[in-house]
Amino acid sequence: MNKLSAVSKAYLILVFTVLYAPIFYLIFYSFNSGGSMNSFESFTLEHYQAVFDDTRLIVILLNTVLVALLSGLIATIIGTLGAIGIVSIKNKKMRSTLLSLNNVLIVSPDVVIGASFLILFTIIGIKLGFASVLVSHVAFSVPIVVLMVLPKLLEMNASLIDAARDLGATKRDVLTRVILPYIAPGIFAGFFMAITYSLDDFAVTFFVTGNGFSTLSVEIYSMARAGISLTINAISGLVFLVTVLIVIGYYFVVNRGKRTEAGR
């Protein structure tokens, strides 16, 4: 492999700098005792203190995490079952139709998803709030889980199942002891993706959240519209920390999956 030229290196460094600068800019000023993001006065943790003292904000943080975990879990169950079901469909046309329908929610703009879910919930009569937000997060996560699990199922060797059946495994055994362990890396990846999508979502939540319920994204939006507040910077610092931890966790799970695969 030939080495990168100086120009190429400079270009990459520039791109990385621009990508990370805003994030570190936010975190840097989260320690500023002055009230602005322009001049750094002295080091303080008061903005972090403010986040933890604000019970409303803590409740919102917990809500966000709760919605992410719950929606991720439910979406993973529905999505995994869906993927197993899709693989069992023999009819090619039906299978591809189902896959196209699956992709609709992935490519649809958030605004359209949000608006159509708002209509849907109003008609069904689901009160806007925790339930509507949770249900919509499940809805936009399911297709992602399906897409993560499907390749694993497709690459699975059919003789594995036949062998299990021949050796006297019940259908339930085949599912829990053969299929699920095999596709586990896909399921984990799907679960992580679902959680990150949920944590990152703003537009859909913005449409279907009522007055009483809020997630972090929606809260930051209303705070940012009111102007600069270093509390948001402190939140950024915390979010960055958690994100890095999640990334490390995700990397670990995926790599472990790869290693067991190579070890087979």
Partner: protein
């Protein structure tokens, strides 16, 4: 390999598809034909074809085009150089991490950076110019959007470049092609699928941005997304909002067809 018993697993998934994919689209189409009082009408469609909405659609497309163009312009070389680095997957991971930071936080950062007394204006002052209002301009809107979309564009391009068999490049060079010709005639055509998916994940969301327009562009830039949000949550005119959404869906389908990947045999 999967027999009838596993088909039972489809039931919750079918319910999901019916309730959250088919029903919402049907409802959007139904509502697009209702006026404010719930009567059947095609006035919304007529309304859409007036100059206000048509010019808004055009500007929205123009912005989405510019955003996609600049994103591609920056992302392609980055992806290309990344595949040449030693620990390329680690570097790719580092590109992805910023995309996992909440979108709102990144956008908020630019309110500070582009502010009248922000760091960018401080740099401008060093060069002897007066501080300018950078926020609420087209530049700030496009810059922030490009910033947001870059990782999403890099990932598919990186993947297709990574899959590219280097022997093609050696062959082209051996046969006397210049570096530029090799890129133009060999590398780029072979990675066009990655570029297409990159465009897909940039252009469609760029058409429907509304948060960045509100926070960064003030109310200077109105995209299709902003208009839908406005109709649904501010004017409470769900009919008109749905009509715009119907057109947004149509545009999306057209873009998908344009950038759709042709499966060239092999295992799908």
């Amino acid at each position: 390999m999967f027999n009838k018993s596993t088909k039972g697993a489809l039931t919750p998934y079918f319910i999901f598809i019916a309730l959250f994919v088919i029903a919402p689209i049907a409802l959007i189409i139904y509502y697009s034909m209702l006026d404010l009082h719930g009567n059947f009408t095609l006035a919304n469609y007529k309304n859409f074809f007036t100059s206000t909405y048509l010019s808004m659609t055009l500007t929205s497309f123009w912005y989405a085009f510019l955003i996609t163009f600049f994103t591609l312009l920056i992302a392609y070389p980055t992806a290309y150089l990344l595949t040449k680095t030693k620990h390329k997957h680690l570097w790719l991971m580092l590109i992805i991490i910023p995309s996992w930071i909440n979108l709102l936080l990144k956008t908020y950062a630019f309110i500070g950076i582009f502010g009248l007394y922000g760091p960018l204006n401080a740099v401008i002052e060093v060069f002897g110019f007066d501080p300018q209002q950078i926020l609420f301009t087209d530049f700030s809107f496009i810059f922030v959007s490009v910033y947001i979309f870059i990782p999403f564009m890099i990932i598919p391009i990186f993947n297709s470049l990574d899959k590219l068999n280097p022997s093609f490049i050696y062959a082209a060079r051996d046969l006397g092609a210049s570096a530029w010709t090799t890129f133009r005639r060999v590398v780029f055509p072979l990675t066009i699928d990655g570029v297409k998916s990159g465009i897909q994940v940039t252009f469609i969301p760029a058409l429907s941005l509304f948060m960045i327009t509100r926070l960064i562009a003030g109310n200077q830039v109105i995209t299709l997304g902003t208009a839908i949000e406005q109709q649904f949550l501010v004017s409470q005119n769900w009919g008109m909002g749905s009509t715009i959404a119907v057109f947004l869906i149509l545009f999306m389908v057209v873009i998908m067809l344009f950038t759709g990947q042709k499966k060239k045999g092999g295992r799908a």
